[in-house]
């Protein structure tokens, strides 16, 4: 086993003597590659830049995070391991891979170095590359990981103000915040925007003896806060909505144990999806999810009915 070590050293010395000087031959190549890379990097930085999404909103549990692309394959792999097995995929497997990589030179100790002379390890490497690539592509394509939630800039600004003005000191949204005032996502849906605006100008003018302070907000700020509150509120739906669901959707979907098995259970859909996503999904699932097995309902149901259904569904599981 150890004999080839000396053999190798002798041979390496020979090759080294026959070889070229590191400078300038290798250094030239290194510099050229670095130069080209920097060109590409600068081009991307200049043309595309680094984008910011809206400010982090810890109450917005409907946000579907997309990891940095080089972690995508891991996320995709996680989906194959449901429930308690998730920790196997998330921690045990990657840990094992890193351990195997780390100790690789201690296991693979022969003298053969050419990839074709090491068919097992070469094959393993190629398989790993193919697997990671396939998972990354799959993760990228799969829209259910990350529905693009377009947000109205007014709403974003409102969310920022809500945080900055510490409204959560008195109010709860999605279960987080204080108890002095009402839970805003529960009650605000019933109010008109005009009512909300008047209330913001002077709470006690609308609700006598209100404990909510007058905040002296600017018009823009009032608009933004109103838009934000409207966007998080459970909007009222009619008695028709559950019936529409029973007639059109229950063949495939369950709500609280009632319904079919073809599609996912929608009992808690409101905690995962926002209303605009649901509207778009009902109108034409294929637009959001090219592989969808659900029929489009645009044309079958009126826009009002779809809106009604979406309001009903987005109130579930909140």
């Amino acid at each position: 086993m150890a004999d080839w070590h000396q053999d190798y050293e002798r041979r390496y010395k020979e090759l080294k003597q026959k070889g070229k000087s590191f400078f300038p031959y290798a250094v030239f190549k290194d510099c050229l590659v670095a130069f080209l890379l920097f060109g590409l990097l600068a081009f991307l930085a200049w043309k595309l830049g680094a984008h910011l999404e809206s400010l982090a909103d810890p109450t917005d549990t409907s946000y579907n995070p997309r990891p940095e692309w080089y972690f995508l394959f891991l996320f995709q792999a996680l989906k194959a391991f449901p429930g308690s097995l998730e920790s196997v995929a998330a921690v045990v497997l990657p840990g094992a891979v890193f351990a195997a990589l780390f100790f690789l030179p201690l296991f693979d100790r022969g003298h053969k170095r050419h990839p074709l002379d090491r068919p097992f390890l070469t094959g393993l490497g190629v398989l790993a590359i193919a697997g990671v690539t396939a998972l990354t592509v799959e993760g990228y394509r799969s829209p259910l990981v990350n529905p693009v939630v377009e947000k109205n800039p007014e709403v974003v600004e409102g969310a920022r103000l809500y945080r900055q003005l510490n409204c959560a000191y008195c109010h709860k949204i999605r279960g987080k915040g204080g108890v002095v005032g009402p839970q805003l996502d529960r009650v605000v849906g019933a109010e008109s925007p005009e009512w909300l605006e008047r209330h913001f100008r002077d709470p006690s003018a609308v609700t006598p003896h209100s404990a909510m302070p007058r905040l002296g907000l600017l018009d823009d700020e009032i608009k933004a806060l109103t838009a934000y509150l409207k966007s998080i509120a459970n909007e009222p739906f009619t008695q028709e909505a559950p019936k529409l669901f029973a007639e059109n959707c229950a063949v495939c979907h369950k709500i609280r144990g009632q319904g079919g098995e073809v599609g996912p259970d929608l009992s808690t859909i409101g905690s995962a999806r926002d209303k605009s996503f649901i509207v778009r999904y009902i109108e034409d699932p294929a637009k959001t999810n090219p592989k969808s097995g659900m029929p489009a309902f645009r044309g079958q149901l009126t826009d009002l009915q779809i809106e009604d259904l979406a309001r009903y569904l987005s109130s579930l599981g909140r």
Partner: protein, 235 residues
């Protein structure tokens, strides 16, 4: 004038031994690699180069960045909109992070497929695997810093995953987050890791890595075993 230059050169040589350093680092001979193979050997130095870009742009970003939940987002917006060349520098750092990950993996693959981790370069490889982990650590901690939606929620998922590790999970997740919930202490922790701890660790490791590379000499391109040294009983 010329004589004076030479005198200065001689002075420096005497005190620093820079000529010897030049000889060992640059004037050393390396086995010849031909054609496209030779270019595969540039991946390591390309990784090093992008790391330098990250360090420079990162230091520039750190001059305007504020690691607190109340100001992080606005400070990054300030960098993008107001700071001279800010959006360009931010862009360089943003894409540089991806470049770094890609290059380090490609570099590892070239070493893997060429069997360059074998005797006597086992140590170089092992340091390399730790370097790979550190680079991933950079990416993970950096992702939170802009404190926007994707930063917050992706890190939430990431720390929750870390929390699932058997036995030590909850502790690890608590240490990363700086408490039970994500918030100000998570951000300051990630920031300290990203700009203080990891750079120190990575510099040390790169130092060892490169020392070993020069010490053992760069590996020769692999040859098919059959052709290798006729009359060699092992060949």
């Amino acid at each position: 004038m010329k004589r004076r230059c030479r005198a200065v050169g001689e002075w420096l040589r005497r005190r620093t031994g820079c000529d010897r350093v030049w000889e060992t680092l640059f004037a050393r001979h390396i086995p010849e690699a031909e054609g496209p193979t030779a270019w595969l050997y540039t991946l390591g130095s390309a990784t090093l180069f992008i790391f330098v870009v990250q360090a420079v742009t990162g230091a520039l970003l750190a001059m305007n960045y504020v690691p607190s939940p109340d100001h992080a987002y606005d400070s990054v917006r300030f960098i993008n909109e107001k700071v001279l060349c800010g959006s360009f520098i931010h862009g360089l750092h943003h894409f540089g992070a991806s470049f770094m990950v890609v290059l380090v993996v490609l570099h590892m693959l070239r070493v893997y497929f060429m069997g360059a981790y074998k005797y006597p370069r086992e140590g170089t490889w092992m340091v390399g695997v730790v370097l790979l982990l550190v680079v991933i650590g950079f990416g993970f901690t950096g992702y939170l810093l802009p404190w926007d939606q994707k930063a917050y929620w992706a890190t939430m998922v990431g720390t929750n995953i870390a929390g699932q590790t058997p036995f030590v999970g909850p502790l690890v997740s608590k240490i990363l987050k700086g408490g039970g919930e994500m918030g100000a202490s998570t951000l300051t922790r990630f920031y300290a890791l990203h700009v203080l701890v990891l750079p120190a660790v990575v510099l040390l490791l790169i130092g060892i890595h490169l020392f070993l590379v020069v010490w053992h000499g760069i590996s020769e391109p692999p040859e098919r075993a059959r052709r290798r040294g006729e009359g060699n009983p092992l060949g």
